[in-house]
């Protein structure tokens, strides 16, 4: 990683009034390029961005943007949003409805001389492929186009950092990735730190350079997406990261030498071998397993390296596009994803007896 360009340490408290009390307490640095801020809804992502942009004022904070101190509560420094030079794109494009696309894009440049403003606006509208809409009003363009205009508008005043709060929600995947590609190529020349908020796992994988995972107002993981999100530390994060199964089990035995432990699923006799965690015998542990990581067999499998083979029956089968979601009762209820082809080949139907095959390291211990 390059030298940190956006350095954030802050605590923000929202007292319980309309909503429940909430505390955001985070510390991180991000460098040039896209960093993803990932977390379930309500984890404090948007609040964090509002604080960085200066729209909210955390009581206790020290934030640096390059060499500039944007806030330091120790000295009482607080730059208003107008002086931070941070581009901020909201979930909705928030284009000024009474202005044309061109006027919107030039709004942040009103100190610039006319010809400079015009050339910057033209350049950015072209970079985000909306130059042909320059004379239109926001109500005359599509949602994807509006976000492209909003991006151009946000980047026009030459910001020093970019915040994006799920700006592409509701757009289809192809449109989304083409906008992100345009943003990436723009940033190749500019090398700005970009903080991109999302709660969609697929978006993390598509964008992923570096991810910061946030839950309950705390940073719970930081690093490359694969390591952070494939070993989620909390239940909510596990859900958000696409772990469909979330089970509770009681530890029966620790096998330190093998790096594993055995546990019994709550409310059943089914046992699982789990990776060793911070737990003692008879402790309750929580386990997250992806539905796609579980194999389904119609006969008891033999000669496998996988350590967990659970017997059960199919409770329900639901076809969702190219994925078949099977609910299997194997002591506890498991969700298993198979392909439509497998469904036909194995003749899976409600009531059928099946075996679930789960690798020890497909089981993630979560808080």
């Amino acid at each position: 990683m390059t030298a940190p360009m956006l350095d954030v340490r802050m605590r923000f408290e929202r007292p319980a009034r309309q909503q429940a009390a909430f505390e955001l307490n985070v510390e991180f640095q991000i460098g040039a390029g896209i960093t993803i801020l990932f977390g379930p809804s309500g984890s404090g992502k948007s609040t964090l961005l509002d604080c960085i942009a200066g729209l909210l004022k955390p009581r206790d904070a020290r934030m640096l943007l390059g060499e500039t101190i944007v806030q330091d509560s120790a000295t009482g420094t607080f730059l208003p949003p107008q002086e931070r030079h941070i581009a901020y794109l909201f979930q909705a494009p928030a284009l000024f409805p009474h202005m044309t696309v061109e006027e919107n894009a030039g709004f942040g440049l009103h100190h610039a001389p006319e010809d400079e403003r015009r050339s910057t606006v033209n350049y950015l509208l072209a970079a985000f492929r909306v130059e042909h809409l320059a004379k239109r009003k926001p109500r005359e363009i599509s949602g994807g186009e509006a976000q492209r205009v909003a991006l151009a508008r946000a980047l026009a005043p030459a910001p020093k950092a970019v915040l994006l709060d799920e700006p592409l929600q509701g757009l289809d995947a192809e449109l989304k990735s083409s906008i992100v590609d345009d943003l990436r190529s723009w940033n190749r020349a500019n090398q700005l730190p970009i903080l991109y908020v999302t709660h969609h796992r697929d978006e993390v994988d598509a964008l992923g350079e570096r991810v910061i995972a946030l839950d309950h107002g705390r940073v719970v993981g930081e690093g490359i997406p694969h390591t952070v999100l494939d070993a989620p530390r909390t239940k909510r994060l596990a859900r958000a990261a696409g772990f469909e199964n979330y089970l509770t089990a009681e530890v029966l035995e620790l096998r330190e030498a093998d790096g594993v432990m055995r546990a019994r699923l709550a409310g059943s006799n089914a046992e699982l071998e789990l990776p060793l965690g911070y737990a003692a015998v008879s402790d309750q542990v929580h386990v997250a397993i992806r539905a796609g990581d579980i194999l389904l067999a119609t006969q008891r499998p033999v000669g496998l390296s996988a350590r967990n083979i659970l017997e059960g029956t199919i409770d329900s089968v639901e076809i969702r596009g190219a994925t078949v979601v099977c609910r299997v009762n194997a002591g506890a209820a498991f969700l298993v994803h198979v392909t439509p082809g497998a469904l036909r080949a194995l003749e899976i139907a409600v009531g059928k007896r099946v075996w679930l095959v789960i690798k020890t390291h497909s089981c993630q211990l979560v808080d």
Partner: protein, 222 residues
């Protein structure tokens, strides 16, 4: 016709002054997070519930040669403020204040706060944000405020009677004139004036309803 012209002049001046005074007040009310805001809202709304005579009485006392406003006026201009056209304007401005401020606050609060945030991160200060974002998006509210304060002033009676008296060409407005005619049993003349006022009021109201359906917005709950 002198009375009608006077009424229109009065209503026009009051509407213009109220827009100038009402906009900063409404802007402040729409943006402030101060807890005591409801007190200011109540004061602004008082003329809605007070009998015009109560308001008129206090305004008269304040304007009288022994009142604070009256003394100041006397010192500067050498005559009393009460029973003058300008005195009427001052009283009417107070009396019609809620009719200007409430639609303005409603319109300003209706502007999506994310637009204001967007303007702020793009470097626009309060004044520029107000001028270029809030105001252009509140045009129907501004029209409503202007027209309502005009129409309300046009039809007032009690305050004028208390503060202005009945001086032809100076303070005798349409409503006073109609009252006068009725008192002297000149029903024909009263009717002509009444119809004129009725038609003007109807024209004014249909104008705003055509522009904006939410005219009688109470304090917005947001």
């Amino acid at each position: 016709m002198e009375a009608l012209w006077l009424s229109v002049r009065l209503a026009g001046s009051v509407a213009a002054i109220l827009l100038l005074l009402g906009m900063p007040l409404a802007y402040w009310l729409s943006q402030t997070k101060w807890r005591g805001k409801f007190l200011v809202e109540s004061v602004v709304a008082l003329p809605l519930v007070l009998p015009p005579t109560v308001l008129g009485f206090y305004v008269l006392v304040a304007m009288g040669s022994n009142g604070p406003l009256g003394e100041l006026w006397m010192a500067w201009f050498g005559h009393t403020l009460a029973f003058t056209f300008f005195g009427l304007v001052v009283a009417s401005v107070i009396y019609s204040l809620p009719f200007a401020v409430q639609p303005l606050v409603g319109a300003f609060e209706n502007v999506d706060s994310r637009l204001l945030d967007a303007a702020a991160v793009l470097g626009a200060g309060r004044w520029r944000t107000f001028r270029e974002i809030i105001l252009p998006l509140s045009i129907p509210g501004v029209i409503t405020a202007a027209v309502l304060s005009f129409a309300h002033t046009l039809g007032e009676f009690g305050v004028v009677l208390m503060v202005g008296g009945n001086i032809p060409g100076v303070t005798r407005t349409v409503s006073i004139d109609i009252y006068d005619h009725v008192q002297s049993l000149e029903y024909g003349a009263a009717n002509r004036m009444a119809i004129a006022l009725l038609l003007i009021s109807f024209a004014v109201l249909s104008t705003i309803y055509a522009v904006n359906r939410r005219v009688w917005s109470p304090w917005p709950v947001k």
